[in-house]
Symmetry: C2
Subunit: 122 residues, 2 copies
C-alpha cells in the first residue's frame, strides 16, 4: 500500500444541509477505516467545492490525491465535469499526482450490497 | 427467508439513457443474485415510473413488494416523494404489502465499500 495518499470524497451536493452533512460523516467513517486523511467536497450546493477541496488537500502535502466519486451513475457530472476539474487542478499542482477512481455505482460489489439490504428487510 | 417478494429498485433517473440503462443492468444483476424478480423504476427521466413499476410488480402477483431506494443521501426525494408515492400505491393495492427499505446511502457497509475502492486504486 502506498503511504500518504489523501482521499477526496466527491459528492454531487444537495440544497439540504443534512444531505451534505451525511457525506461529511461518511468521509469521517472512511478516514477511520483507512487511517488516512479524507476530505469531502461537492460539485454543487455544498462547501468546500471540488476545487477548494483539492486546495485543502494540497495544504496537507500528501504524496498523491485519490478522488473517489460518490455518484451512482455515469451522468454528465462523472463523465465530463469531474474529469475537467481534476485535470485543471492537476496542471496547477504538478508536484502532486491527482487520480480519479471509478465512481461508486460502477463497482461490482454494489449489487451484492443491494442484495444484502433486501435480505435485511424481508 | 420469505418467499415471493418482488424487489423494486428505485433510482432517481437521468436524462442520459445510458445512466438509466446502468440501473436496469444492476437490477438484472440483483435478480441473478437474489433469484427473485427485480423491477427497476425511476422517479424522473426514466421508464417505467415508480407508479408504473409498482403496477408491473402487482401483475406478477407477489406476496409482497420491497422497494429499495437507489439513492445516496436523504434529500427531499427519499424523505417525501418516495414515501408518498408508495403510500398512495399501497392504498390502491391493499392485498399486496409494499415496504420501503432504507436508502442505499444509509447502509453502514458503504464506508467499507469506499475503503475497498480506495484500496483497489492506490
Amino acid at each position: 500500500m502506498k503511504k500518504n495518499t489523501l482521499l477526496l470524497l466527491i459528492a454531487h451536493g444537495s440544497r439540504k444541509a443534512q444531505a451534505n452533512e451525511e457525506v461529511r460523516q461518511l468521509a469521517q467513517q472512511l478516514e477511520n477505516l483507512r487511517r488516512e486523511k479524507v476530505i469531502a467536497c461537492f460539485l454543487e450546493h455544498g462547501a468546500p467545492s471540488i476545487s477548494e477541496g483539492i486546495d485543502l488537500a494540497i495544504q496537507e502535502s500528501p504524496e498523491s490525491i485519490l478522488a473517489l466519486p460518490y455518484f451512482l451513475t455515469a451522468g454528465r457530472h462523472v463523465q465530463e465535469d469531474l474529469q475537467s476539474i481534476l485535470e485543471e487542478k492537476a496542471r496547477a499542482h504538478p508536484g502532486t499526482p491527482i487520480r480519479l477512481a471509478p465512481y461508486l455505482g460502477s463497482h461490482p460489489q454494489l449489487a451484492t450490497l443491494l442484495a444484502q439490504i433486501a435480505e435485511e428487510n424481508l
